[in-house]
């Protein structure tokens, strides 16, 4: 099933907001790459460049009290859900002001105060936890929806299958968002998935399987809204497959020798940020190129502030490693 075009066209403010959110992720990731090369970020990084329309499209269709569970590639999910760029950047620097007090690092960023679980870096392991969160929302009667992001590679994990089945039998308010970026690290999807679309597997659980252009933020947002509405009405989960592409390596050390430069160029032409800015300025004609540039300036200011904050924040004392093995209270 392909999603049709939006019923109500988005307003200028909505469009500029989406662009702002997506550009923030893009610039955040580009800066991370540079800061890594400068030796300021001590860990490896799984960057979200190219997939911004998925996180922003999905999260822009949520309530602030809804929950999101990210993956080992979580910066985009966390930023889109409202975790502050300061606290994420500080976490990447290994500073005590980080969202996980320097205990988590790049792959575990999160902030439950804004509904972002600590990101879960074991592929597919977040899906059953998301189902538990959705069960909890149903039991508490809050109508909160929970999102589990995973890749097409993650879709092959047993945990994901158990999760989808349980969510389906209990009709829980959870959305399984498959970010199909065509490669699990270096392995192409054709080698590890026998069906044409990951969403086809939804039929096995008796839930809707929806396919959407993951580089079209408006399409992702609309598909998410439909699924969220269903979930809040008690009609159960949806598997939403967003077809997209990593415009960067799997991790910092990846030269992408397993895919062609032609393929990369094709997808660069479908860059979700370029598409959205063209839509805003040329199709909808709701803002000018200068106004788009204005958004970019705002984003640069936020980024500079986040980097300054991270650089100026203190490092943890070594023996703080001993804290928080068990819950020590708020």
């Amino acid at each position: 099933m392909l999603v049709t075009t939006s019923i109500e066209p988005p307003t200028r403010a909505e469009l500029l907001h989406l662009y702002h959110e997506m550009l923030l992720i893009r610039r955040f990731e580009e800066q991370c790459n540079a800061l890594f090369l400068q030796g300021k970020i001590p860990s490896t990084l799984h960057l979200y460049i190219g997939q911004e329309a998925v996180a922003v499209g999905v999260c822009s269709a949520l309530r602030p009290d809804d929950f999101v569970l990210g993956t080992h590639r979580p910066h985009g999910h966390a930023l889109a859900k409202g975790v502050s760029s300061r606290s994420i950047m500080a976490e990447l620097f290994g500073k005590v002001t980080g969202c996980c007090k320097a205990k988590g690092g790049s792959m575990h960023v999160g902030d439950m105060a804004v509904g972002m679980f600590p990101a879960i870096a074991i592929v597919g392991a977040n899906a059953p936890i998301a189902v538990g969160s959705a069960l909890s929302a149903k039991m508490r009667g809050t109508q909160q929806v929970t999102i589990a992001f995973f890749g097409e590679g993650g879709s092959n994990e047993g945990a994901v299958h158990e999760a989808m089945n349980m969510a389906a039998i209990w009709q829980l308010p959870v959305l399984f968002i498959c970010e199909n970026n065509l490669y699990g690290a270096s392995t192409p999807i054709s080698q590890v998935v026998a069906v044409e679309n990951v969403a086809d597997r939804a039929a096995a659980y008796g839930i809707p399987g929806v396919i959407v252009d993951g580089n079209d933020v408006l399409a992702v947002q609309e598909a998410t809204r439909i699924a969220v509405e269903r979930a809040r009405e008690g009609k159960g989960p949806t598997l939403l497959e967003c077809k997209t592409y990593r415009l960067c390596g799997h991790s910092r050390s990846d030269a992408c020798n397993y895919r062609t430069r032609d393929e990369e160029a094709e997808w660069r032409d479908k860059d979700p940020l370029v598409r959205l800015s063209r839509y805003i300025t040329e199709v909808a004609q709701l803002a000018t190129a200068e106004e788009i540039a204005q958004v970019a300036e705002e984003v640069e200011a936020i980024m500079q502030d986040a980097i300054n904050f991270a650089e100026e924040s203190p490092e943890p004392q070594p023996e703080e490693a001993l804290l928080h093995v068990f819950w020590e209270g708020n």
Binding site: G110, I120, S136, M139
Partner: protein
């Protein structure tokens, strides 16, 4: 004061906590199906009559899912009690326990809590290798998990209630031969671990061991079923003039080190009895701890009585050979004099 089996005591503990706190619920395989088992060993039998099937939640055979659902619910305001049919199935959910539940508080910088309880039956009971292991030691090695091992009905209820109220993931290991489950779920060779259990609210604090028998000549530390083997051995030894002190730590993580050290400082001898296989086991950890902290009080080497390094065998003669017997405990103690 009413007398109860461990299965009954656990059931009452769950019932009282579910009445007290609406966020407490149970999930697991075959725990509330009408006409079903009430869990593999009857612990949840009849609870769905009072609490309904939303709070006594039957799941598919999906151990990863059970653990993950418990974690997600625990992180968002609920207090799940997950029922594992056999402890061996914990291996199916190992990622969720070891990488998720145990680490969530730590890797979130102490901003997230995971108040879940996981109940798992252990012990060799003529079911072969995959329904018989004693897995306690595995989980004591994972920072972030609390591990309990109640051996009496009083402790089972009291520790379960503490576990439910704890804000951390807590694993409770229950021995299949101690449940006292009745009817079709009763176990051949089971002990009648029936004991007095108060009807009123009480808890047994996590992290506090208990002296089951006092003695001056040797300290025997056991857990679950081996506490009873130690007590039987102590009786035999008494006839030969050896007075054994039997310690039941009840909680494996956090461990009440002091109750063991205090006893060893008095007796000068230590035997650790466990049903797990011996190498890199729980007994090794207790021995190392005593060697580090009370070496100069020891009058003899520390002895471990444990299962050999094989999977649990099936045939009754082999199983009886595998599981530490009272006779092996007696002989280990005598070798120290």
């Amino acid at each position: 004061m009413p007398e109860m089996t461990i299965a009954e005591a656990l059931r009452e503990g769950i019932r009282e906590e579910m009445r007290r706190d609406p966020s407490v619920f149970c999930l697991g395989e075959d725990i509330g199906i009408p006409g079903g088992f009430g869990g593999a060993f009857t612990v949840t039998l009849g609870l769905s009559d009072e609490f309904g099937h939303d709070r006594i939640l039957d799941t598919p055979i999906s151990e990863i899912g059970i653990a993950g659902v418990a974690i997600g619910a625990a992180m968002t305001g609920m207090r799940p009690i997950a029922d594992v049919q056999y402890g061996d199935f914990l291996f199916c959910m190992m990622d969720q326990l070891a990488n998720q539940a145990a680490k969530m508080t730590y890797m979130s910088g102490g901003t997230v809590k995971v108040p879940l309880v996981m109940r798992a039956p252990v012990g060799s009971t003529r079911r072969g290798s995959q329904h018989a292991q004693s897995l306690e030691a595995f989980f004591t090695h994972i920072p972030g998990l609390k591990v309990l091992a109640p051996s009496t009905a009083y402790d089972a209820k009291g520790l379960l209630k503490s576990a439910i109220r704890d804000d951390n993931p807590v694993l409770i290991f229950e021995h299949k031969l101690l449940y006292g489950s009745k009817g079709g779920r009763s176990e051949k060779g089971a002990l009648t671990a029936v004991g007095e259990v108060p009807s009123e609210d009480y808890v047994v604090p996590i992290g506090k061991g208990v002296v089951r028998r006092t003695g001056k000549d040797v300290t025997i530390v056991g857990k679950l079923l081996t506490v009873y083997r130690a007590l039987e051995a102590a009786q035999e030894l008494a006839q030969e003039g050896i007075e054994a002190e039997v310690i039941d730590p009840r909680t494996l993580i956090p461990l009440d080190k002091e109750i063991i050290l205090e006893s060893v400082r008095k007796t000068g001898r230590l035997v650790v009895v466990e049903e797990d296989n011996i190498t890199h086991g729980w007994g090794a950890e207790i021995a190392a701890m005593v060697a580090e902290e009370a070496f100069f009080y020891l009058d003899a080497p520390i002895k471990r009585v444990a299962a050999p390094d094989t999977p649990p065998p099936f045939a009754p003669p082999m199983e009886a050979f595998y599981v530490p017997s009272t006779a092996r405990v007696v002989s280990a103690v005598k070798s120290l004099f």
